[in-house]
Symmetry: C2
């Protein structure tokens, strides 16, 4: 039996086993799920053993365990580090799920359940691809290291600590991650670029306490009004960010890359239907795809202050708050941008408020040279798995781990996602298309096989 036949013959067994994995409510954000987290880590370790890995470790950390495994039986052949996570987002609001979050259910060719797309389903694709190769060929044709963490949804602190302390152990020729999406249904995709992310919070303080807006209104500066006046100044009428120096270092996209991105089978109409806004606007001079993947942004993520309850309260609040973020692109330096943003905001604010400015996190953008050989191999493997040519895409989001690993090991990172943009990762009714789950196992089995030629 060849590899393809083996995989085809095990469809039902693979799907049943994935459902078993999905039934473990490994919600990393909630301490009540700590036993489930431990159970999920053991489940991953057990199934890595079934996949033929001999050296398997469950690494205890300050929070949730990591699972590490390695198969280094292919001397002289490339070594690949596969990264994924077994933890999931909370399932709430529970009443918005059509079928229970932790009771996987198939409807219309999709498997529904928390973790189907993000990321248990995609981790399972790799486990089953590796197991299939082992069962058909008796061994893996390359060296494989596997690192599956349990804190991705809560910040990956333990992972990063582990990587720093085990650089030699984790060394590889390439990093493979499946935690992203395909461009669209039927379009196998390789992601070669991510935006970076700085996240900020400010607190403006005017009066020492909340004031009655009748008694004091008209003679006391209102922090809420000042907040609105501040953020209204941060974009110009062409939707450019007004922070001086913000665009200084932004890498130019080459004409061929720009052409390639704009030629992708991506439909603006489908995008707008998915968003459902009454109208659209973005930075002038760039197409929507360019705005989303190649341009930096300044975005308000939360604003609050004063009275939010039912009815009326006539208050001038003492404080006003905002959370906001800048998405960054190559070659913006996150620390320099954070400094420019703070400087500009402090300059714009009047002396009638005090400002507490916090940088909650920084992270730079990542872009890979997608003409490197490993990308060609990945593209070929995807074509074998899906029967369609894979496209090279960028994404607007950020995966700090990819940037950190790339910076630490200076090796190519290949992001092959089997989710779809509308599969509700982080939301009720999360699902994965079964055609992408099964196609993923075929493609990834080809990938690990073909990487022997790297």
């Amino acid at each position: 039996m060849n590899l393809s036949e083996f995989i085809e013959g095990n469809r039902d067994a693979h799907l049943a086993e994935l459902c078993e994995f999905l039934r473990i409510p490994s919600v990393s954000a909630k301490s009540e799920h700590k036993p489930d987290i431990e159970r999920a880590a053991r489940w991953v370790a057990d199934h890595l053993r079934a996949a033929g890995f001999q050296k398997i470790e469950i690494v205890q950390t300050n929070l949730h365990p990591l699972v590490y495994a390695e198969s280094l039986d292919a001397p002289g052949k490339p070594t690949v580090l596969f990264y994924g996570h077994y933890d999931v987002q909370p399932a709430e609001p529970l009443d918005l799920w059509t079928s229970p979050a932790f009771e996987p259910s198939v409807r219309n060719g999709n498997l529904f359940g928390r973790g189907t797309a993000d990321d248990k389903g995609q981790v399972h694709i790799h486990l089953k691809a590796l197991e299939s190769i082992q069962k058909v060929h008796g061994k893996l044709p390359i060296n494989v290291k596997v690192l599956i963490e349990g804190e991705e949804e809560v910040g990956s602190v333990s992972l990063w600590d582990y990587v720093q302390k085990n650089k030699e152990k984790l060394k590889a020729d390439a990093l493979v991650v499946s935690d992203t999406s395909m461009l669209a249904k039927g379009v196998p995709s390789i992601t070669y670029g991510l935006r970076g992310l700085n996240y900020y919070q400010i607190e403006l303080t005017g009066p020492a306490r909340d004031l009655h807006s009748g008694v004091y209104g008209g003679a006391v500066p209102n922090p809420l009004t000042i907040l609105t006046e501040l953020f209204a100044k941060l974009h110009d009428k062409n939707f450019k960010v007004t922070v001086p120096g913000f665009y200084d270092k932004v890498a130019k996209i080459s004409a061929p890359e720009r052409k390639a991105l704009n030629s992708l089978p991506w439909k603006k109409k489908a995008f707008e239907e998915a968003v459902g806004a009454p109208g659209y606007a973005g930075e002038k001079g760039f197409t929507t795809v360019e705005q989303l993947w190649t341009r930096p942004t300044f975005e308000l993520n939360g604003v609050w202050g004063g009275y939010q309850g039912e009815g009326a309260k006539t208050v001038i609040p003492a404080k006003a708050y905002a959370k906001f973020s800048t998405r960054l692109v190559p070659n913006q330096d996150p620390h320099r941008i954070a400094g420019l943003v703070e400087k500009h905001i402090r300059k714009l604010l009047p002396k009638t408020v005090r400002c507490k400015f916090q940088v909650l996190s920084t992270g730079k953008a990542w872009v890979a040279p997608y003409h490197a050989p490993i990308f060609k191999i990945a593209q070929g493997a995807l074509e074998k798995g899906f029967g369609k040519k894979a496209v090279f895409i960028r994404e607007g989001g950020s995966i700090p781990f990819v940037t950190q690993m790339h910076d630490t090991f200076k090796v190519p990172c290949v992001l092959i996602g089997f989710g779809l943009p509308d599969e509700n990762a982080h939301a009720p009714d999360e699902h994965i298309a079964l055609e992408n789950y099964f196609g993923g196992i075929r493609a990834i089995a080809h990938l690990y096989t073909d990487l022997a030629a790297l």
Copy 2:
């Protein structure tokens, strides 16, 4: 024994009785206090009887009872309607009270407890003044109607319904209210003007659901940003409201009134110390007192949207909200202003958001001709009670009942407050200065006596 001696001789008894009234936790906002509300209404009725009133009614309503009483034994003499309320604000947060909210306690010449200033203490001033006159003179020299409600802190709906249905019964030559503040300690004050209040809420909707700011940021209009851009346009650099027509009908203040207001014993430095802001700003061309009492405002009272929790969430929210209000002055028409505000806001908003605009309430300003005879009588009575000349002031807040009564009965309203601006009405450690409580009883006894000459 004359009236003054009687009042002086009953200081301790009056104070003890007020404490009894204050111990009833008549919180109108909370249904668990319904029995206390009923008890407070009966307490008021009983003490009106003790004060010599024969006709007393506890009027059941859809919510909390009203207490009505009348003494019409002075044919040919003026009739005065006294209005107050026996309900109080909730006491929370309880841990910020130095002594328990419903266990009245004297410290440093102040009586602490919920309702001391707003409004039980002030209602009790009138009860004891009326009772003292009855006990000393055997009868009241004028006709008095008393209306004490139990819903002032929750909107006075039943009161207004009752007034509409009992116009003939409530008819009077003047309305007297004690539910305001003195300008400052040692400055007995008569309030002859209040600002009106329109309260609004808007909901802006952009995308059909919350979006990931990485995946969508840069090509989707952010309702929070649009909200800030909207409100940043509603004041110009001189702090004037930019709504076209907003100032069209604003009544000019006469030169003598302007001079009188600016000559009051009111200290800007004390005001700024009480507010505690890092800086001040208000409408150009007007003094602080003028800004607070005679100029209309446009004020944000609450803003919210997106993520407000700990840490970071990278969201472009579907919706952004604001609550805001306009304080109005004579002769702005509240309905016209509401229309102008809505028209302007809709004009300013881009087509990338939908806007739900709500007017939660409207209310016009009130100003009395303070040279009318009743104001002179009130000024004289206050001087007799406090040994100091009373001043005429306006306030920046709004008391809808006063405007409504004035419009319904077309009679003078005299607002004589015995609170102080820093006595924490609606906040923990609410208190009233004992000198103002006792001075109030003396002054109000003189007022009801001297009004016979009206």
